[in-house]
Amino acid sequence: MAVARLRGVLWQRAAARLQDARTVVAAPPGARAASQMTQDMLPGPYPRTPEERAAAAKKYNMRVEDYEPYPDDGFGYGDYPKLPDKSHHERDPWYRWDQQDMRHNWGEPMHWDFDMYIRNRVDTSPTVVPWHIMRRHFFIFVGTMLVMFVIGGMYPSYMPVGPKQYPFNDLYLERGGDPNKEPPVVTHYEI
């Protein structure tokens, strides 16, 4: 009985000490946040009302008409804007961007796949030949080559060759023939 009461008191004291330690670690006096942004400036859940949409557009530095969130499919996009899927290769190289190599301005909303669309990676610039024509030509060529190689593998064709002719009675000694015996005479010619 006394032991249980003692253990209960000790447990409560340990819990209290832990709680004090946790508050001390969480925000010591004089601490600054790593980022100057408050929680309302960070991305949030999908906007449902027009007011939420307007607030989200303002948060992302976009016009309300331009702001279009990803569809609410439960994929985890939240209220992040759906920007056009264009790579940074297409952005004007002569405009003075704040970050010239990234072709990105400070505060401009970044595409969800920004790290894919940088100039070292995916390029969605318009091509000289339309995509469906290039795709068609590619598949026709690769398909034809594959079919021809498979058929050629199934029905190989070579130049006609005869059996190989070796000298010295068909290499009798080299093939381990008995040197004391008389080798069988092999002629590879007909006169």
């Binding site: 980022s35 100057q36 942004m37 400036m41 960070l42 991305p43 949030g44 859940p45 999908y46 948060k59 992302y60 530095n61 976009m62 016009r63 008409e65 331009d66 499919d73 439960g74 994929f75 985890g76 996009y77 939240g78 992040y80 056009p84 899927d85 264009k86 297409e90 704040d98 301005n105 400070w106 505060g107 401009e108 909303p109 970044m110 969800w112 920004f114 969605t124 610039s125 318009p126 091509t127 339309p130 995509w131 469906h132």
Partner: protein
């Protein structure tokens, strides 16, 4: 061919996820209506405001140690910490989770098992492989 309705160059180009429409074929390049001009003016105003904020921080005589880009912070936060709170199990997400999460495990387990059983059979029969 004569009965075909005339298609525009943009429709014949067929832009998709991998390649975008050239500006020369895009009708909106040549759209100079007042609505478009107002939209462009608003966008320019937002851009100019952001540029001004950035330049003030950049050329500040007593500069802060780092100029934080809120767009970058929001982008990183959205892709890492905002995904799970907004995740919702729907038929589509459950199906994709099964296919891409469980599918490869089961597939490769089956492949390895079948291949090793086949090899074991060949070894037992004394054949070459």
């Amino acid at each position: 061919m004569a009965s075909e309705p005339p298609t525009s160059a943009a429709e014949r180009y067929r832009p998709n996820r991998f390649v975008s429409l050239p500006a020369e074929l895009d009708r909106s390049t040549f759209d100079v209506s007042p609505e478009r001009r107002r939209a462009e003016a608003e966008r320019l105003a937002i851009r100019a405001r952001l540029k001004r904020q950035y330049q003030l921080q950049l050329n500040h005589p007593n500069p802060a140690p780092i100029i934080e880009n809120p767009a970058l912070t929001r982008w990183a936060y959205a892709r890492t910490q905002n995904v799970y709170p907004n995740f919702r199990p729907t038929p589509k997400t459950s199906f994709l989770g099964l296919v891409f999460g469980l599918g490869p495990l089961l597939f490769w387990a089956a492949v390895f098992k079948i291949e090793r059983d086949h090899k074991e059979k060949l070894i037992k029969e004394g054949k070459d492989f």
